[in-house]
Symmetry: C2
Subunit: 395 residues, 2 copies
């Protein structure tokens, strides 16, 4: 399903199946640090049209990557938005050219703490500079330039992907037509910073982390990373969904063992989540990306007024939130809607009723998919991108 690439890709290391592009010149980060070279790994789906107007940029969440659809190269699963992205699907790759890049700081081929620091010949580890959501978006913008794409039809993503979509609308309002931030916020809350800090402390507490130098030293802080993942995973779900799925059901036994085995199914599930995560994710990347989310605050960046972040924005917005999402609750999307309304921006907002919590943006939620399909359709028509085949035939 990977489409043709309009720009030559730099060949990456063997472990990465994605094409990679090295940005021309250094990337000046929000911290002031100049980072060079910066390589970005990305996937594309569908084909770029003749006037290069049909790009949908998908921004991934904390622990996701550029493998949006189709088989994932290092797990036995499909891409994280495979339900949404593909021929004839909500994000229809017969019509749109879908691009998703691994974020700066990530661990699936883009420059990040596990890649080699050219100054030392060793993995960056904690020598890697702290990055922000703005830095991730700057790297994406540079990638798209080098791919010859001046204007993006739509930027979308859930969770940290929503933060990136908002940053795109804030920084590059003239380079995107539409933005769909899903289950996101304009700033990371105190509670969310606190949960991230627990995860980071769990990693740092693991002696195998070796002050961040575990790659050189041949160790893996898998226990710390697993604990971080377990704590985070609870926040992605909701109490009602945990209750519905597991309740207090015992795991493969009729009565409690009165011990510390995973007596309850929910414990067994959580341990599985923790210990499979460590096979596919880098502990230092987890530190850097959680930190980037913590620093995100579009209001603070805009003289304390979120409305200033979207002054006279020409972008069409669609905000989507989920009723049972307590990590990025609806109220935070609503604040963004108010800020956009204050600018008389084009904004639609849908709160989807579901008990599936934050992770609902990854799941098969018909009302969510219908909302996204409808918005994309309308926005596409407004810029002359035509309409879906089945709608054309019914005209």
């Amino acid at each position: 399903m990977t489409g043709s690439d309009p720009a030559p890709a730099v060949t990456g290391t063997d472990e990465h199946l994605s094409p990679r592009i090295t940005l021309e010149g250094p990337l000046v980060l929000q911290s002031g640090v100049s980072l060079s070279p910066v390589t970005i790994a990305y996937q594309t789906y569908g084909a770029l049209n003749a006037d290069k107007s049909n790009t949908i940029l998908i921004c991934h969440a904390l622990t996701m990557d550029q493998y949006v659809a189709g088989p994932h190269p290092s797990t036995d699963k499909r891409g994280w938005w495979d339900a949404l992205v593909g021929p004839g699907k909500v994000i229809d790759t017969n019509r749109f050219y879908v691009v998703c890049s691994n974020v700066l700081g990530g661990c699936m081929g883009s420059t990040g703490p596990k890649e080699i620091n050219p100054e030392t010949g060793q993995p960056y580890g904690l020598q890697f500079p702290v990055i922000t959501i703005r830095d991730m978006v700057q790297a994406q913008a540079r990638l798209l330039e080098q791919l010859g794409i001046d204007k993006v039809f739509c930027v979308t993503g859930g969770s940290m992907g929503a933060m990136q979509a908002l940053e795109w609308a804030h920084r590059f309002p003239d380079r995107i037509t539409a933005a769909v931030p899903i289950a996101g916020s304009y700033r990371h809350s105190a509670q969310n910073i606190a949960f991230h800090e627990v995860g980071r402390q769990a990693i740092i507490a693991d002696p195998e982390w070796r002050q961040g130098n575990y790659l050189e030293e041949g160790t893996t802080p898998h226990r710390g990373l697993a604990v971080a993942r377990m704590a985070a995973h609870i926040t992605y779900l909701s109490e009602p969904s945990l209750h519905r799925k597991f309740g207090r059901k015992l795991q493969d036994r009729d009565s409690p063992t009165y011990g510390f085995d995973a007596d309850f199914q929910v414990e067994s599930y959580l341990r599985h989540q923790g210990y499979t995560f460590v096979d596919r994710f880098d502990a230092n990347s987890y530190l850097y990306i959680t930190r980037a989310m913590d620093y995100f605050d579009l209001a603070e960046e805009s003289s304390g007024q979120l409305a200033n972040a979207f002054k006279d924005s020409p972008v069409r917005f669609c905000l989507i939130s989920f009723t049972s999402d307590w990590l990025f609750p609806t109220a935070e999307s609503r604040e963004i809607v108010h800020a956009l309304n204050a600018n008389a921006a084009k904004v639609s907002f849908v709160e989807i009723e579901t008990d599936k919590g934050h992770d609902a943006f990854l799941l098969d939620e018909p009302e969510f998919h219908g909302t996204l399909r409808g918005f994309i359709e309308g926005a596409a028509t407004s810029v002359g991108l035509g309409s879906a085949n089945k709608e054309t035939s019914s005209d």
Copy 2:
């Protein structure tokens, strides 16, 4: 403020300032294990009256202990309910004889994993049997018997203390007049089991835990225990209270450092919570007590029907919950109220409006204190325990 003890106390080890009593005969646990000897450390406040009818038994929460009021021997703080317990206070030690014992499995002088296993001469560690809320309550009941107290006027406590108060009402309805379960539940939810499991995994992941034998080996799993505490601490608060207290405020700096220091006040606060906790709590006790809470399910114990747990109960109940408590939400107290109503039990129920989350039961919440004062007053009058002085003078 410690009152006179009606029964001779066994002298404990020097580090424990509380009197301790060794139960006569073994304690047969819910798991079937017979544990012996069992020693219980306890504090008392006020004086037992002539007919031994004025006892209020306070049951402590997961990380609390028997030091309810007055100075705590190993921290520089006052007891955890010092705001409520004392002369003239809501739980008036001029009128009532207050007893609080360290739970079985605890680490402040009662028999638990850090005490010496007489069979080996070494600390129990993981040789300690898994205990339950029922076991804790059985131990309390035996303690009270040995103190010569046949009937308790009121059993109360918050969180795990509420579980014990409910277990008392279930097991010994004729031995208590009133029960006040605060911010509790009749069973631990899947989400709460999940959070506990994260804490346990954090402790077990710490190599200094040494398979539970850290005391013999002279190590301390302080990093794992601190991470467990940090994760748990978030659940004791609410997002609005974290936002009000910390928001995104930086710690002693004007701009972010773009590093992994505790840039945000909430991080600094959380680290402090984690690293002060390890000075006063035993990691294995944390494993055992969280496990006891996980196993608690009064409905399951009563043929799946919570109402059966309180059949024809003569106990006067007052349930108290807090609006922003997402660990033990109001809905769970309400289920208990429904079960009590189905038995035509005497029950009052108050949900207190507060943004302080689960920890509100430890804080100065005037409506909560007023509710508790009013209920105790009414229940005391109903059993001829007289009324408070100021009310007597206004008669």
